[in-house]
Symmetry: C2
Subunit: 408 residues, 2 copies
């Protein structure tokens, strides 16, 4: 008698993006022929760059010749790509890792969701509030919550990020086992400095907790003094897993390629030294068959000097958009966070409007779609996330429309 | 205090392929300069075909232009590809499915491993013996076994496939909840007819069980009378999930693309109608971000008339290899199964040798690597699996070498 996994049934319905889509569609039906400008989803819009595209074309040519064709690759990823990532971390961040610490995947979302499977279902989970919903949802499926209480999930520890703490929460007041952190933060755009992150690493070492550090936006950091990889912090190799991706710097949101760093030196209470690393290897070998070899060829090119230059160009472009959005919104009196060292602007709703009220206002009057902050957790209420992913001309139009209607 | 998932610790070490690699490497070190011929892993060797390669090149060109670039696709897969699969099932198999029943993935292995997450950890699992190890391992991680007993996992029901039942096991004698079936079978090469599979579907409907049907080798069926998709059987849409892939017909083992069919009409005891379908959708939206858009463009081309023709050429090639292997081994008195309607030859070890003894013999004397049948489960003891994936010239050399040394 087949019974579905009750933990899946505990998941509250995926409310945010379907609801945005529903309201946008309804508006379009009422306003036929009007164009909507979308600054909602963090979806890249600019072309794959020439050096990276060429590497993928070349890979297809190799696959099209039986003398150079290759089938299954290593589940952990191509050796050359793992080595290139290790070298990149050394050169760019001054951090020493082993190439075998890097596991190539089809993207940061998969890793962010799957990583919890490594841990006991009894683990107490801490997440930033607001946060990317995947951390919470995957741990609900992993059986670590006792249910949704209408606002958030019972059993999880929510670390509130607000304007008072500069969107950098304090370490948990109680004992937790897994801590999800994301910097530059999605959705608030906050970046973390060494002293702030060191408190989390020290907490984790002291409490034998594991930090899952999502660094998917790290290439957007352009100011000094902020952490670009958690392994810049002493002791992190014993307590932190880092997740990253080629989505937001090389434009691989659809091509799909990411990596997780699961150092052999990670410590767990059961299973002995190296267990977390060894089990992630086993997990990937059992549940995964490697990322697409074409995408991996593109990723390798993205790490070359020429590729890095091209990626920097893409990130510069989106940061330029972010600057336009931030300055535009501030010019009409909105309080904004992020938008520097980050592609996201976290804007306070004016006049005490709720996130959804301001969403409706912007859609109705400016014809611009943003993301209601409350969709990222209760502490996001009263904010909207404005994404800088878009063509420059659309960004300018959207900002002008917002300015016009907030001035009204 | 981070504790790892105890279910992962219950997994017996992945013995088979590492042990093959270890013995092969040791032999090569003792026999410097000698070439080993590999008929072990089921890994494709022939080039991606022109029409499919062109579609992937074209997709990269579209991604390289900001006016045609696309980022995130739907987690469930591109609409056009899902429709093309639905049309293909209708035209090729006379089966009616909805396009929304198809979920595009990065390959059959991921789906085969992840699908168990949908079900309660209390489910009793039946697997064929021998079987592809992922079904068993993923359910161990899912908490459905009480431990490895040295031969197999306690708590699972093993359906023995042997020469007496033609490698088609009978339905379980007891009540089970999840049944994994694979036809054409890996490793035995057996194919199933309608009457035989109908018994399983009837069993599942009667016992409210779910069948997970792995049809990854279905394109190798060339003789009439065998089932190509489980949905040919009446009632299967209420009790069966099917998994398939572009790996073995389009050569996408490294490119990565597959699909699962999870019909809305599937029934479970809890959660109400449509729950399994709805939860798989939610699972894919939470744990996955879609297959690579380049691979999906290739998959769409593979389903076109021209693409199907090219894939048929690839499958013909491997079936030609299988025929050479089967006839060659039979000519020196070995008893062989499979190798027709399947890329795998399941060969009885001569003279009462064990699987590993015969493996060692073939490596030592013929310099050929095969896969010991015992690695697929206890009922595989006394057999080796010979794979037809290889260049024709290597297959011929390997078969001649085997013939020569078995004649000795």
């Amino acid at each position: 008698m087949a019974l579905v996994n009750e933990n899946f049934l505990s998941l509250a319905s995926g409310y945010l993006f379907p609801e945005i889509a529903r309201r946008t569609k309804a508006w379009q039906e009422r306003n036929l022929g009007e164009k909507v400008l979308r600054l909602g989803i963090g979806n890249t819009t600019e072309a794959i760059t020439p050096h990276i595209a060429k590497a993928m074309h070349d890979k297809i040519d190799l696959l099209s010749d039986r003398t150079t064709y290759t089938g299954y690759g290593d589940e952990q990823g191509d050796t050359a790509l793992r080595k290139a990532l290790r070298d990149f971390y050394h050169k760019q961040y001054g951090v020493e890792l082993e190439d075998t610490d890097f596991f190539i995947s089809d993207g940061a979302k998969s890793d962010a969701a799957n990583i919890q499977e490594l841990f006991s279902s009894s683990m107490i989970v801490a997440v930033q509030d607001p946060a990317y919903p995947v951390y919470v949802d995957s741990n609900v499926v992993g059986g670590r919550s006792t249910g949704f209480n209408g606002t958030n999930y019972d059993g999880f520890v929510y670390l509130e990020s607000n304007s008072e703490n500069g969107f950098i929460p304090d370490v948990p007041a109680q004992k937790v086992d897994l801590i999800y952190l994301c910097f530059p933060n999605n959705p608030t755009g906050a970046v973390i400095n060494h002293a702030q992150l060191k408190k989390f690493v020290d907490y984790a070492l002291e409490n034998k907790a594991i930090i899952i550090y999502d660094a998917a936006y790290t290439d957007y950091i352009r100011e000094p003094g902020y952490v670009r990889t958690i392994y810049e912090i002493e002791g992190a190799k014993r307590c932190a897993i880092e997740i990253n991706s080629f989505s937001k710097n090389a434009g691989f949101t659809g091509v799909r390629l990411g990596w997780a760093i699961v150092p052999e030196s990670l410590e767990s209470e059961n299973g002995g030294p190296g267990t977390i690393h060894r089990l992630w290897n086993r997990r990937q070998c059992t549940f995964f068959n490697g990322a697409s070899n074409i995408a991996q060829a593109g990723g390798l090119a993205a790490l070359s000097e020429k590729g890095r230059e091209e990626c920097k160009g893409l990130v510069d472009y989106y940061l330029g958009n972010a600057d336009i959005i931030k300055k535009g919104l501030e010019s009409v009196g909105l309080t904004c966070y992020g938008g520097v060292n980050s592609p996201y602007i976290w804007a306070r709703c004016p006049c005490g409007l709720s996130s959804w009220d301001f969403f409706d206002f912007l859609l109705e009057h400016a014809h611009v779609v943003v993301t209601p902050g409350s969709g990222f957790g209760p502490a996001g209420e009263g904010y909207v996330r404005v994404s800088s992913y878009g063509h420059r001309e659309d960004i300018i139009k959207a900002v002008e429309a917002i300015k016009e209607h907030i001035n009204d």
